[in-house]
Amino acid sequence: MTLALDTPMQLVSSRRRRLWIERVTGLGFAAPALLLLVLTILAPLAVLVVLSLTNYEFGGVDLDFVGLANFQKALADPIIRRSLLNTLIYVAIMVPGGVFGALLIAILIHRRTRTRSLYEVIYFLPVTSTLIAMATVWQFLLHPSLGPVNGLLKWLGFAPIAFLSEPSTALATLAVIGIWQILGFNMILFLAGLTAIPRDLYEAADIDGCSGGIDRFLTITWPLLGPTTMFVVITTMITAFKIFDTVAVMTRGGPVGSTEVLLYNIYLEGFQYFHTGYAAALTFIFLAFILVFSAAQTFALDKKVHY
């Protein structure tokens, strides 16, 4: 038996057999993840791409391929253009507010020993609450005549502001609510980042003469938080870009289209007007933006913030 095994032919075949088994095992391990990826992401994405090239309407029995007509229509549509611009303005307000506000809170409560967890809970509460329910509360708070915010303004001698029904303030108000909701989550991420900075570095900085608050922040905290900050910026951007629920519940795109945003228009086209093909094209545009944000993270920023 052993002698027979030693012939070169059999050695080669047993090695091949082992390689084959290894390959099959490898595929076997990868298969479940691959299957899930195909079922939940790749297949729907393919369907989306196909739909975006048709004039399919929800409930319709037939469909025609219209090529890129949906995309042409979208790019020419002033409502879509406005909603895209509104979304970008919303992102531009929410990202700095949500990132730097959270950073400030994280730095303030990081060194607290006894009260830290209390503050963590307080700031994290909005994250756990349902925004739809909270939107009602915000609507009451900001109500022009009944709301306590305007009550305060009046008490201070200012004219009341119709936050949500004034075209110039509605979008900014929604952005503030968005910041309020994401602040706690970003704060937790920053706290984790701060905890990961070794204490030694602050002590070395202390000895090297870098002991003022501004110096410490600029020399150590801010650069070492780079990876965290990048992650927070990207996730906040994507979250902001997906603004939908406050619009749907509080303003419905109004007043005068000042809070029309991309996702809300997709919702209207797809689920109110049943223009499924057109909605698919809009969704494709939406995904392209998300892709740009993610690519920015992977290729551009990644190299700069890691050390």
Binding site: E203, A204, A205, I207, D208, C210, S211, D215, L218, Y307
Partner: protein, 395 residues
């Protein structure tokens, strides 16, 4: 250059007393090592000198000036951390330059954007650049200046940490276990480098370690600490040849000192394993004592064990350890429930003993250390005691 004086430094963390009134005078340009087991308070002490920790009682003066109210960087001390604490996002050049940029540029000249407005900034930066280059050259770091700490080996990081400490010419260097993270070979190399650096700079070095070899090889003086107090302060050879207590004797020296139980017999005469020695003490009869014998003081006794001023006992060889130039022999004490003893000897001597062989080990009574039950060193009286020298180790 400066002296460092500590007077009755006390420190507690909550209910735990870490330092119980430490007094220490460190001379200008001295290399002083604080050595002791972990948790003995040596790191806390050096951190108090640095100003990273505040003492509950007592005072620190550097160069004759009280520094207790000063922030760390105002004390003109530099510190090398065990983890090196290099700034990971900065290049070696920036790491070394940081203490200088902090002291030579004003805050607004360091701020982004605003600093572009400063006319002098460029001249100051050139000066800093030159000083960094000089420090880097001393430590052979020139070719690494543009690397990040993550791209360096442990020894190189260690040198960068030294460079950052050196660059602003501090009066006192504080080093908190700087070699602990290096591998054994590099540690031996860095010991020499540190000792030479000390000689070259002439600054005061305060060095914390738990490794008695580092303490013995580099220091002018060693302060052996335990439980928040200094047990003994002296030169390395004083600590080795005249340990003031059992704890010091056990901590200093490798292999560790051999401890044998002795007792006081009639007339104050010491007895080892029931045999009277020629040493006498003032302790009352029947008192238990501990006899310490360094491994190089033991020797194999051939034939008659007798001889004036020499003690002996029998043992069985358990294991030989070959160190190349010498052997460490591990013996069990035959028939006694005691930890064994070690003997340092030449390869030739070691070859003469077979494994598991019963032998007689002897030592010069003048070379042994005597400790009372409370661990205090006792000076015995008796022949040959006047010269407390160590017997040459090689037969």
């Amino acid at each position: 250059m400066a002296t460092v004086t500590l007077s009755s430094i006390a420190k507690s963390f909550g209910p735990t007393r870490v330092l119980g009134g430490v007094d220490l005078d460190i001379a200008d340009g001295e290399f002083l090592t604080l050595v002791g087991p972990s948790g003995c308070g040596k790191s806390t002490l050096i951190r108090i000198i640095a100003g990273l920790e505040h003492q509950d009682g007592g005072a620190v003066t550097i160069g004759g000036q009280p520094v207790d109210h000063l922030r760390p960087h105002e004390r003109r001390v530099a510190m090398v951390f065990q983890s090196y604490a290099l700034y990971p996002h900065m290049s070696v050049r920036q790491n070394i330059a940081l203490p200088l940029t902090m002291s030579r540029l004003k805050l607004w000249q360091r701020l982004p954007l605003l600093r572009a407005l400063s006319g002098q900034r460029r001249a100051v930066m050139r000066g800093i650049e030159a000083d960094v280059a000089a420090a880097a050259a001393q430590l052979q770091l020139d070719h690494l200046l543009d690397r990040k700490p993550a791209q360096l080996s442990g020894g190189q990081r260690q040198r960068v940490a030294l460079g950052r400490a050196m660059v602003r010419h501090p009066d006192v260097f504080l080093m908190d276990e700087p070699l602990s993270n290096l591998d054994a070979k590099l540690r031996v190399h860095m010991r020499t480098e540190l000792a030479e650096l000390h000689k070259r700079l002439g600054a005061t070095f305060i060095y914390v370690t738990h490794d008695q070899v580092e303490a013995m090889t580099m220091s002018d003086r060693v302060a052996m600490m335990d439980s928040g107090t200094i047990l003994q302060l002296g030169t390395p050879s004083q600590l080795y040849e005249k340990p003031g207590s059992l704890k010091v004797a056990q901590f200093i020296g490798s292999p560790a000192i051999n401890l044998l139980p002795a007792s006081v017999g009639a007339g104050g005469r010491l007895e080892l394993f029931g045999r009277p020695m020629s040493l006498t003490v003032q302790q009352p009869q029947g008192q238990a004592m501990t006899l310490g014998v360094r491994s190089e003081a033991l020797s194999l006794v051939q034939g008659e064990p007798a001889g004036a001023g020499r003690a002996w006992f029998s043992a069985r060889l358990r294991r030989k350890e070959n160190l190349g130039s010498e052997y460490i022999l591990h013996f069990d004490l035959a028939g006694r429930d005691l930890p064994g003893v070690t003997m340092r000897t030449s390869p030739a001597q070691a070859a003469s003993v077979a494994e598991a062989a019963e032998v007689t080990l002897g030592f010069d009574e003048a070379a042994c250390h005597l400790f009372a039950a409370d661990g205090e060193r006792i000076e015995p009286r008796g022949p040959g005691v006047a010269s407390a020298s160590i017997v040459p180790l090689r037969a």
